[in-house]
Symmetry: D2
């Protein structure tokens, strides 16, 4: 920690701050500048509590954390890239993994046709929502248990592993029974009750970044899951909310190499939500593999114009097959298998 005092802080204020720091078990290094005093804090203690306390102490201008607040998910904790096993595959290994499928499971015919389409084009996992987070209480909320059963059926037919969203800690056991990977949506990235319960769910978790969450907050949410017992977390970028209005979300791909630098966990990109426009998905998929993503999660629907949700950002199976060809060429150019 570094504590920067106000320019005209008094000697009493400075002494009082140093005393407060020592109460938390730290050592103090005070640096007297021309204009102000800066205090370096060394040792082991409760950083957050100390910071918050100091920020409210008279004479303090700013209290800054220097070390990262996450441990288990950090690159310092584990040097090698983690490969997470999901249904016999490795996400984060040599293979670039594409997950694809509809936003919502709507009917047996829809999910079976889509699953077969994406499997034929090279997808390795099937996505599909049974519990849907909808902005409006009047919109379709998902088929729930019936949807989970249809996903299982699609898995039996195609061999594709299943990934589906979990929205409440109440449903963890139920969803875990049917799926290979639990997906946490952007709106639930800081639903801490849910994160804690996923620590014991026995399934890998794909954790999406919140639409205005910082990289630190994303890694702290992953830390919640790991600290509660589940080391198998896949990070997912799905776009952030900005002033840009030609896309539903702004997709900031620099987070992919930055996450790899800070963490050993695999990183997957969702260009469907990351743009909200089907005609931008292929180009952003190509960019994602080019900059080092470990995989993609893509919305594909056998008939987007009749989709109950997210039609505007869904590819047809044919468009998805074309996208896969383009992605494979780039994957080869970055020494990655698809």
């Amino acid at each position: 920690m570094i504590i920067s005092m106000r320019p005209h802080a008094t000697r009493e204020e400075i002494d009082h701050v140093c005393e407060r720091i020592r109460e938390f078990g730290y050592k103090v290094h005070s640096i007297e500048g021309e204009e102000r005093v800066v205090i370096g804090v060394v040792g082991v203690g409760d950083v957050t509590a100390c910071l918050e306390s100091l920020e409210a102490t008279p004479g303090v201008e700013r209290a800054m954390r220097i070390s990262a607040p996450y441990k288990f998910v950090s690159r310092e904790f584990k040097k090698e890239h983690s490969a997470i096993r999901v249904n016999g595959l490795e996400v984060g290994g040599d293979e670039f993994i594409v997950m694809a499928g509809p936003c919502s499971v709507e009917s047996e015919r829809q999910i079976m046709e889509t699953a077969e389409g994406v499997a034929a084009a090279g997808a390795r996992m099937l996505r599909g929502g049974a519990f849907k987070p909808r902005t409006s209480p009047y919109d379709f909320q998902g088929l729930e248990l019936e949807g989970l059963k249809l996903l299982r059926k699609a898995k039996e037919a195609t061999g594709l592993g299943i990934i589906t969203e979990i929205m409440s800690d109440r449903d963890v056991d139920l969803v875990a029974e049917y799926t290979d990977c639990m997906q946490v949506g952007a709106r639930n990235m800081q639903n801490f009750a849910l994160l804690k319960s996923l620590g014991g769910c026995g399934r890998p978790v794909l954790l999406k970044r919140g639409m205005s969450s910082t990289i630190k907050e994303l890694l702290m949410s992953a830390e919640y899951i790991v600290a509660h017992g589940n080391p198998n977390v896949i990070l997912c970028e799905r776009g952030i909310r900005t002033f840009e209005d030609y896309v539903r979300n702004t997709l900031p791909l620099a987070i992919v190499p930055e996450l790899h630098r800070r963490s050993h966990l695999p990183v997957v990109v969702d260009p469907s939500h990351g743009t909200g426009k089907s005609n931008l998905v292929t180009d952003m998929s190509k960019a994602s593999v080019a900059c080092g993503a470990d995989g993609l999660i893509i919305e594909v629907h056998n008939d987007p114009a009749h989709a109950m949700t997210d039609g505007a950002q869904s590819l047809t199976p044919q468009q998805f097959a074309d996208m896969m060809k383009a992605v494979k060429r780039i994957a080869t150019a970055v020494d990655r298998e698809v």
Copy 2:
């Protein structure tokens, strides 16, 4: 709804779109411009499903909703301003209601001293967190049941109504037993499982805007609670996330009159989270009452420099008392009681 076709959409594409719209039960008005065709859609049907379907239909450039997607919370539904009863008070009535207290309940002494301090200065409700949403799994998570009991004790001593945060649908019954008003934090504004369960909780709900949620999303989340049976919702602005770095959050007060224009529900402002800096809280409180807010929710701690959470944005009881004096003067200038 208005559907704008691409400049060179074909006659077949236009006809197909009109047909799709009629399938949803709507009537179609087609307008042929110099450059493109625009289609007006009239009638009653499933707007969201129709919009999403059309956005994925060939030839469509943009599909726009014209009418508001919320009903019960809208000003059209109820012309008069709603006053929500909480512990014998009315939020949204003539009186300007100030809720105050610590971020977290930490100890009996802390909550009792703070409660007495804020009551003496004119606060009408006591806030305090028993379940805490924390970015880090290693930080203090709240006293939970013990905290709820201490809040009840403070109520018995001071008569102040209690408002406290609810983080999971699992805890709704427990928290409802101890509190007068359920607070939904910004991170849970779209925790739809939680919103649904609050529909039946029997307590008024203070719903905070998410840090990157639109005004429409806030009203839709309020609509969830009302549509599930609970009409007693208080809206709360607590700041949004922007590029600004001198504050923890940016407080956009124009939302106060805009919410009043769109909705009959009361609107409260949280300048403590809305700035993150105790030295900005008083000025933003004054601005809030000046622009028409129905109340404030303020963090006050008997000893901010020893607070376990949010010390930097907490007022001391003395600072709070000074703030109340300033707020009262402005309240009088806008014909509001405090």
Copy 3:
């Protein structure tokens, strides 16, 4: 400055960084933590150059400036609040100053009628654009010299001081001849050629914050004008660009007290651009005076529905008169004259 080294920086890297710092004329205080080394830098030198150099030096994680980069505009440089004289008035003095008038000067009748209307209601300066920054090259670009002459005529008739926008360093002398205060628009806040030339213009300058500029950047742009010879700068907040879509811009009023804390310069708010909606202007004006602004700049048009620019955010003279009554009541409640 504080330099935080990477966790596993080598001794050679640390020594090299210390050497680089000393080359810039600073002294070094090295703090050895459990996890990393942090280096405190003390003395006087070229901070920006040193920071940028260090950020590119191997082993460095982050280089942070502690002291403020501005001097003349800072509160440390001048303790008392500055009052800037404009046409016999003081902006930043005891009186709360309201500037009002149309977005663009359009015709003699329009500017004369509007000027008389706002003067009668209590405005103390007349705003009006002769050179207009327009997003489109095909839109009305202003009456230019003709507009300046009409402004002078309106001044002669009403006695109101004139404030008008300057868009290019080429026009500084011309505009200075006709106006009492030079206005720099948000799009030109970092037009450094213009800022430099305003240092010698002989008129006070009202400097609007850029729509995504930080508080530091605003103060640095003010510093440009002062450092080039003109100490008479009025700061103006006019809203920032965020994801919010019910307003043209988001008006973050906490910047008002924060600017007062950091700088001695007066602060004025523009709620017309700050919201983009005439029906939000009055409430935001009330909030501005409540939180300590020194004045307002308001768009008023004698016939908004026939305005050539910004009709949607312009008040009628009658609406403006009503607003002034409300503003006066709040001004009294914060011990300010209007």
Copy 4:
């Protein structure tokens, strides 16, 4: 245009709006919905003036433009992709063009060494600033004319075309004499006086997006240059300002295919400013070529740790050579020459 009336607009209000529209020379199509009236506007007229006027007319809820406000730069105006000739090269042609060099020209040795380094690695143009936009008046402002002369010297030695920034309309003739391409920085994207003067400068212009400008505003600024006589505009994305704090700017690459969809102009990406971190530049360069950019502009310095500006985001010539190898592999995978 589409005009959406308020739910309870009166018949008089609706008639008055229709009359106003006809005054502008348009035809009116009125659609009576269950809840409100929507008015379609057809014909040719002054769209902006009409929209602004209507937004201020009683009873109107929202007035929306449907057609794009730009003409010459639009894909509708010119179907084929434009290739802009610069110093014998084509930007926007088959070849993927990399421009590289230091942020600022600092000395003869620096610019010559860097120019030779980037030329050897495959760069096709040399960038370097002689006039520098600096946040602080106390920071290095560029070598100005001396810098331009050094750039010419580097061109003579290496054959690389020169691109350098122009900051004021006063300097257009001077800069045009020394450079092959005029660069407009993000802070000047809406410096309309400068844009107009570039219409007659006789050199192609690389126009960077402002850090909070919309895609429409970028294209309108390009339209300014074209409408004033210069069709040779290259668009450049250099990152936007968001809440993200691990980068200096957020690089939103989906704008690349979206610009190609809307405009025939070439699109170049600046990942140096687009991230602000040298260790992210290579990955973002790879992503840029993968998603269809026509070129890159990269900061390279022969000795970043001693750079006077932007050291933290500059590559060394060796890092740049490695980057070029990676970029070439991806270019091949998208059928592009380097």
